[in-house]
Amino acid sequence: MTDEPVVPEVVETVDGEALAAARAAAIAENDRNEAAALRRATRRSFLTMGVTAAVGAGAWALLRSRAPLQGLPAPFRRALDANDKLAMAYFSPTRLNREYPPAKITRPRVNGGLGISANNDPAAWRLTIQGVAGGARVLTLDEIKAFPRRTMITEFRCIEGWSTINQWTGTRLSDVVHAFPPDHPTRYVAMETPDRGYYVGLDMDSVLHPQTLLAYELNGAPLTWQHGAPLRLAIPVKYGVKNIKRVGVIRYTDVRPADFWAEQGYDWYLGL
């Protein structure tokens, strides 16, 4: 293809016409050869492309059709879990959410009613901590409020994409964990509403993050039932779905706890 074509020189001789004809023939032959070479290259390359495309499409179809694992084709669930491992390794409790001035507070949004109800009796509510050294503990709201009071104004980010800026007031979850430590070091914490209508799984690092609160006030007022009265989790290192309302049970565990939305195909960790 890159060889120089042999084109006879046109010289002014008596045989000029014959030479010109020979030259034209040589050019025509060269053009035919080049075109043929291109056709061969085209066939070869388009075949390679077609086969590659078919293999790629086949591989994708195979990946998508694998048996589901927690609401997703298994390879996609494993990829999410691998991403989570990386994120957990990179996580540092010294990296904080930005805290905003009060002027930045926006209207809170109610986006879920799982595990909560207007009919719940706030006075009957108790928090049970399971897996504690010396046996499970049952706490009242006043006992939670006896811990140092913390206030933060942070961004609440929903997995759907929207976000609001809220002021949370409550007890650092790490204060509660340190007061009622697990009977042995555990990697996870499960949290449930009293009726287990909603439940989340959390990693211990995120639980101990300084901006993770058991909140009893939102924007300066006690929580309404829609926002999880009397006590909810405010955990801005996670998407909104992990901010469980009306926490009734906290349990230390070595096994990655069940998580309501992870069972529906969402990522388990959801760390931000």
Binding site: F76, A79, L96
Partner: protein, 216 residues
């Protein structure tokens, strides 16, 4: 007479054609995610078709699905993009791709010619000024998608990145409009490839282009 000439190297062709389905998957899974909070507008028109349309396209109620695809394919998309950039740098191919002093005036001339407002196209090497600018811009956009995507994905652990993007919502905005940019690029790219014809298109597959050269 005609001569077959090398146009696109094998590696460039592979990067290009691998990128095509990967970017398509990223845009499609991104749209599945966008459905959950389709808030952007263009000239006042909400960029959110009626739910019936989303459902017809099987793209409604698939946020979890979309995220799992997005966070799976992102690795392949990013790796292919990074390798492409490294390759163009190491092979020297970047010299053909990065705009130079003449590119901007040339791009205007090319555009005027394409719109039939100018008779002659400016003389060009492998890529004309307009191509240099777009093919470099698309790589910068890709980098922007990577960075804004990371800011959305980990706005606390990478809060410095999110801050640079104007916060979590700023990063979402950038990420969305860059994607609209890809769709626009795709439309123009396809139109130009169709206009330029088969010989040019097949060169992106075979690597060779047939040229008319002077008889020597």
């Amino acid at each position: 007479m005609k001569r077959l000439e090398r146009k696109h190297r094998l590696a460039i062709r592979w990067f290009h054609w691998i990128n095509f389905p990967l970017l398509a998957l990223m845009i499609w899974s991104g749209a599945l995610i966008y459905w959950a909070n389709a808030v952007y507008r263009f000239l006042g028109i909400p960029l959110n078709p009626p739910q019936k349309v989303w459902q017809k396209l099987h793209m409604a109620y698939r946020l979890a699905d979309g995220m799992s695809i997005h966070f799976f394919v992102m690795w392949f998309f990013a790796i292919n993009g990074v390798l492409y950039v490294l390759y163009t740098l190491l092979s020297g191919e970047w010299r053909e791709l990065v705009p130079n002093r003449r590119s901007f005036i040339e791009a205007i001339q090319v555009t005027l010619h394409d719109l039939h407002l100018r008779k002659t196209a400016p003389p060009q090497r492998k890529y004309n000024g307009a191509q240099r600018i777009s093919y470099t811009a698309i790589i910068i956009m890709g980098f922007g998608s990577l960075v804004s995507g990371m800011a959305i994905y980990k706005p606390v652990q990478l809060s410095w990145l999110a801050t640079m993007m104007g916060g979590y919502q700023g990063a979402r905005f950038v990420h969305f409009w860059l994607t609209v940019g890809y769709v626009a690029f795709f439309a123009v790219h396809i139109a130009q490839v169709v206009r330029t014809g088969w010989n040019n298109f097949q060169a992106m597959v075979t690597g060779y282009e047939l040229h008319e050269v002077p008889n020597d």
